[in-house]
Amino acid sequence: MMKDSKIGGGLFPTTQVSVIVRLSSDDLALRFQATESMAAVYWKPIYKYIRLKWNKSSEDAKDLTQGFFARAIEKDSFKSYDPSRARFRTFVRTCVDGYVSNEEKAAHRIKRGGDCPVESVDFNSAEMELKLSELPAENTMEDYFYKEWVRSLFSMAVEVLRHEFTAAGKTTQFEVFERYDLNEDRATGEGSYESLARAMEIPVSQITNYLAFARREFRRIVLEKLREITANDDEFRSEARWLLGANLK
């Protein structure tokens, strides 16, 4: 579990304004806020990427992850992002590589304090996930970064969904979603809904309806967050297509 809900207030806002635009704001406070929101999705992929690609220890990767975001705010690093040249996640990965490389050359790191948006996130959870997952091949580190980015985005969306459903008294709906879509041992094919319906003592038609509803909400949340962490409409559409195969109107 995430120990600290400081990142993006724990659950990201549902605003559809791009935080990428605010990342280059002249107002430091606004920039910090935007970086915090962006970091909510990016800190874990960045941490894992640094651990594996740059072969850093857990402590070093933690410092570098924090340092990366702190430096980005201080130096206004994201201002140079040009949406016409690359996707934002590609830009971030390139920035991480540049930052770690420079830090290695400089042979020192400045530990960041309270001005870092990822000061007290649960790095242990990221470590645990690293242990649970299969390590990527050295030549697939870029793909690994993007895969972790998707995982991070989806994990956040699931948490938002849980929060929203609980607040709306739709715990059964979320339970169906959790027991079916978030269960790697789910039964598949014919009869799979029936077994869940029996276990939950609700009709099969309810399973179908609840799942359809939860999936639709999950998709909405993912797309909202995606809109927030992409620079413009073109990038948003392109990422949506890549992520969900979604052809948006």
Binding site: M128, L132, K147, F154, L182, Y193, F213, R215, A246, K249
Partner: protein, 368 residues
């Protein structure tokens, strides 16, 4: 926050794209494939407990025109009741306005896969004849497919053949004689076919909506199998002969295992057409009989009038070839005639030769 493993992430990615079918009797099991306009899912019809193929329009193309096109496609398939055309069970609209239809789930392989198994040429030709039958049936009902290609043909385990994906089919305006099932269709004011259907109750049939896109000169179809007039965007020239060309291209593929024209884009195909860069089948495989090559080339003639005038004529030539009889597309020389004759009557000739040999042996034994 619970950790999502790779399987969960992949599953969420997939199910997030599923359409909302909560008000329908269908439940999606998995994606079967997707095209430019729609995605086809394997679904379960929960009322009848049977698998169906569910074609759902993609949200990106949910314009009024594409809605009309999907509805028209469903109606076209519904009217073409033939063993070689996949039957449709249901059509409807999702809460978000997307059209879907459910059709029989056909288990089998596409013609591409079938061809890779390198079945005997006679077997491949029999499959081809079944494709011709289905297309001829559609033509008889005033409908041309316009996207015949290996991916749109399914071959079952027992050689059954289904022509799929009628998404860019066109209803021929003013279709004559036997276009009796297309009542009430007026293709953008260019003519109407209002003859009565003698086999079906007309009151049971909704009027067909015009295929706006298919009448506007837009290039629809798959370049390698498109007739020149189709690739060049000459909508007015689309006719049954357009499908005859594509059938010729399918025959080409079945004979050579190659696409007729290599080239990814319509532009490249156009260039290839202009330069007449079609490699004759025998160039890739010299064992292909000349007469069969001629049948293929006649069906694929650049100028429509030089093609077979009907699918039935093309099929007849293929049947004649299978029966070791002369085909209309190829004039044999005397040696070829003799060779074909010998081949056709090889069993009788063998028996006669064996009989004469026995008589010859007996004759000499009798003289000893």
């Amino acid at each position: 926050m619970n950790w999502l493993n790779d399987e969960m992430v992949d599953h969420l990615r997939e199910v997030s794209t599923f359409p909302d079918l909560s008000r329908t009797p269908y439940r999606i099991l998995r994606v079967l494939g997707s095209g430019g306009m729609a995605t086809v899912y394997l679904a379960e019809d929960t009322k009848l407990s049977r698998p169906v193929a569910l074609k759902v329009m993609d949200s990106a193309v949910s314009s009024e025109d594409s809605v009309s096109r999907m509805q028209a496609e469903a109606q076209i398939i519904a009217r073409l009741e033939h063993p070689g055309i996949v039957p449709i069970h249901d059509v409807g609209t999702l809460p978000d306005g997307r059209v879907f239809y459910a059709m029989k789930f056909v288990q089998g392989n596409s013609l591409t896969h079938y061809s890779q198994k390198a079945a005997a040429i006679s077997e491949r030709l029999r499959v081809f004849l079944k494709i011709c039958e289905a297309v001829a049936f559609a033509h008889a009902h005033g409908i041309i497919h316009r996207d015949l290609k290996p991916e749109n043909i399914m071959v079952g385990a027992f050689g059954e053949v289904m022509v799929m994906d009628w998404g860019v089919a066109k209803i021929l305006p003013g279709a004559e004689e036997d276009v009796t099932t297309l009542a009430d269709f007026d293709s953008t004011g260019q003519g109407a076919s209002t003859a009565d259907d003698t086999r079906l109750d007309p009151s049971m049939r909704p009027p067909l909506k015009p295929l706006v896109e298919t009448m506007s000169g837009t290039v629809l179809g798959t370049p390698s199998y498109m007739a020149p007039e189709q690739a060049l965007g000459q909508t007015a020239g689309h006719s049954r002969l357009t499908d005859v060309y594509s059938l010729g291209a399918l025959l080409y593929f079945l004979l050579t295992h190659r696409h007729p024209y290599e080239g990814a884009s319509v532009q490249q195909i156009r260039e290839n057409f202009r330069e007449k860069q079609l490699l004759r089948p025998r160039k890739s495989d010299p064992t292909i009989p000349k007469s069969l090559e001629a049948v293929c080339m006649k069906a694929m003639a650049f100028e429509p009038p030089l093609r077979y005038s009907k699918v039935e004529e093309l099929a007849t030539d293929v049947e004649l070839f299978l029966s070791d009889l002369p085909v209309s597309a190829y004039e044999e020389n005397i040696i070829e005639k003799a060779g074909r004759w010998l081949n056709r009557y090889r069993f009788i000739i063998f028996l006669m030769f064996a009989y004469m040999l026995v008589r010859f042996v007996l004759y000499f034994l009798g003289r000893l």
